[in-house]
Amino acid sequence: MANDRLLLDIRNLSIHYEVEDGTVRAVEGLNLRLGYGETLGFVGETGAGKTTTALGIMRLVPSPPGRVVKGEILFEGEDLLKKSEAEMRSVRGGKIAMIFQDPMTSLNPVITVDRQIAEMVALHQDVNEKEALERAVEMLALVGIRPERAKDYPHQFSGGMKQRVVIAIALACDPALLIADEPTTALDVTIQAQVLELMKELKRKLNTSMIMITHDLGIVAETCDKVAIMYAGRVVEYAEKRRLFLNPVHPYTQGLFNSLPELDEEQEELKTIPGLMPDPTDLPPGCPFHPRCGYAGPQCATESPAMVEVEPGHLVACPVRARKGDKP
C-alpha cells in the first residue's frame, strides 16, 4: 500500500511501563495501518494494550511510568512521536479526537455542556466565544440533543445523552481520526445500539476515519471495515472484517470466536481458551500465545512470529497456521 493513501501508519511501536516489579510491555512491536475514511476495529482482552496504543497515538501515555520505547506513528505522513508538545496540542482534538470509555466521568461536572463543546472549538479554530457557542449548539443538534438543553450540566443528562455530548465534543473540530475507546461499554444494550448507529452515521457524514476499541465482536461486525486482533501488546491478526469473521486464522482469534455462545444450540458451558493472559511483566519467549495454543510447536517457544499474508490484506502472526492455510 502506498504511504500517501494511509492516514495512520504505526510501525514497530513499543510502549513500556516501568513499575516496581519490572517492565510492563504493554505494547510490543505493534504495526497497524488505517486508510482515509476507514473504520478499524481494535479487539482484545482487558490488558492487551488497546488503550495504551490509543493513548500512544495521542501522545498521552502517562509518563512516568509509561514510555514509548521505539517505533514510529506516522499520521498524515508525519511522525507524531517527533512533534513538540505545542504541536501535539493542536493535533489533539483538532486532527485526532478521542472518545473515552465512561461518559459519566469524561465530562466536567461543573461546566455546562455547550461550554465544554465550545472549549474544543475555541482551542482549535479562530472563532470568538459567541461563534464557538453557536457551533456547540449545532453540534448538539447533530447528535440529536435539543438546543434548550445546551445550558444544562452533565448530571442533568442520562448516560446515553452524555455519550452523545462526548461525541459532539470529539467531532466539533471535524477531526481526521476519531479514536473511540470502548464508547459503549458503560451503556446498556439499547442505548449502545443508538450510540453506535449515531457514530456510524456521523462518520459517514463527516468522512472521519475511526479506530473503534472494543472487546465486543458484535460491535465490530456492526461498525467496522477492518479488524485488528490484539493479544499481549501485539496485533496477531489483521484483515478486512468479512474475511476475518469468515476465516479466522490465528488460534487466538479462533478461540475468541469459539467462545461466543451459539444461538441455535443447547450449550452447557461456553467454550473458553485454556489459561490466562500472560503477566505483561513476564511475557513468554517466542509467540506470547504459545502456552495456551493447541497448534504450538517447538519453534513457537523460541521464534517471535512475523506477520504472514495468508490472503490479500489478511495478515496473521502465526507461521504454523499460515503454512497449513486451512479453511474452516
Partner: protein, 290 residues
C-alpha cells in the same frame, strides 16, 4: 472526592439549594444574621456611629455605659461604641483580605503541587511543612515584626501565615480530581496544563476551599487582633478590636467595659463565622444531607 464533585454540582446548580439547606440549621442562620448585622455596621459606620472614632472628649474619660455613651468611653473620652462600629470595618477587611491572599497563593501552590506531583510536589509541600511547623501566630508575629507595624503589613503577615493550610487542602482535592477521566479528556482535546488546572480542576474543588475560607476568616481576625494586641498590628488611633483590648488592659480592674465590649465584638464575629462555616460545610456535603 465524589463528595466534592457532587457538592459543587449542587452549589452550581443552585445557590438557592445551598441556602435552603443552610436555612435548616438554626445555628448557621443565627451566624448569617449576626454577620449581616456586622457587615451592615461596617459599611455604614459613618452614618451609624454616634461620633467619629478618633473624637476625644477628655471631660468624659472613663465613663461607664450610660444613655449618652452606650458602651462607655475610654481613657481619652472616645466613645467605645463608635470605635467598635468602625473597628468592624478594619477587622472584616483584615479577615477577608488576608484570607484572600492566603487562598490565592496557597491555592496556586497547592494546585501546582498536586497536578504535577513528583519533585515539584515535594519541593512545594516540604516548604509548606516548614511553614506549618511554626505556630501560625508566631509566624505572623515574625513576619509582622520584620515588615513593621501597619494595617497593610498586618494583612500580609496574617495571610502568609495561613498559606500552608490552603496549599494542603487544594493539593489534596486536586490529587483526587487529577485522575478523573474528564481531566484526561480535557488533555485529549488539546488543553494546556494551566487551562486544565484553572478551568477544569479548581472549579471542582471549590467546596472544601470555601468552607476552609469561611473558618479561616475567623482565625485571621483573631490572629490580627492578637498582633494588634501586642502592638504589631494597626496603629492608634485606628480602632482595631485587638488594639482596643490592648489599650484597655491597663485599666481592666477599674474599667472592665473598656476590654469587655471589644472582646464581645470579637467573640460574636468569630462565633458567627464559625457557625456559617459549619453550616456551609454541611450544606455542601451531600452525605450529611439529612
Amino acid at each position: 472526592m465524589q463528595t466534592a464533585t457532587t457538592a459543587t454540582k449542587k452549589r452550581r446548580n443552585g445557590v438557592g439549594e445551598v441556602l435552603h439547606r443552610i436555612g435548616k440549621s438554626p445555628m448557621a442562620v443565627a451566624g448569617l444574621v449576626i454577620l449581616a448585622v456586622i457587615f451592615f455596621l461596617a459599611v455604614f459606620a459613618d452614618v451609624i456611629a454616634p461620633v467619629h472614632y478618633a473624637k476625644q472628649n477628655l471631660m468624659h474619660a472613663f465613663e461607664p455605659p450610660s444613655a449618652q455613651f452606650w458602651l462607655g468611653t475610654d481613657e481619652f473620652g472616645r466613645d467605645i461604641l463608635s470605635r467598635i462600629i468602625y473597628g468592624a470595618r478594619i477587622s472584616l477587611m483584615v479577615g477577608f483580605i488576608s484570607v484572600g491572599i492566603a487562598m490565592c497563593v496557597g491555592g496556586v501552590l497547592g494546585a501546582v503541587a498536586g497536578y504535577y506531583g513528583g519533585r515539584t510536589d515535594n519541593l512545594i509541600m516540604r516548604a509548606m511543612d516548614i511553614l506549618l511547623s511554626i505556630p501560625s501566630i508566631l509566624l505572623a508575629i515574625a513576619i509582622a515584626a520584620s515588615l513593621g507595624p501597619g494595617l497593610f503589613n498586618l494583612m500580609i503577615a496574617v495571610g502568609i501565615a495561613a498559606i500552608p493550610q490552603y496549599a494542603r487542602i487544594v493539593r489534596g482535592s486536586v490529587l483526587s480530581i487529577r485522575g478523573q477521566e474528564f481531566v484526561e479528556a480535557a488533555r485529549a482535546v488539546g488543553s494546556s496544563d494551566a487551562r486544565i488546572i484553572f478551568k477544569h480542576i479548581l472549579p471542582n474543588c471549590m467546596a472544601p476551599i470555601i468552607v476552609q475560607g469561611t473558618l479561616g476568616v475567623a482565625t485571621a481576625i483573631l490572629v490580627a487582633a492578637g498582633l494588634s494586641f501586642i502592638g504589631l498590628g494597626t496603629q492608634p488611633p485606628i480602632p482595631e478590636w485587638g488594639a482596643m483590648l490592648s489599650g484597655g488592659r491597663s485599666y481592666i480592674r477599674d474599667y472592665p467595659y473598656m476590654t469587655l465590649f471589644p472582646g464581645i465584638a470579637i467573640m460574636l464575629t468569630i462565633l458567627a463565622l464559625n457557625f456559617v462555616g459549619d453550616g456551609l460545610r454541611d450544606a455542601l456535603d451531600p452525605k450529611l444531607k439529612r
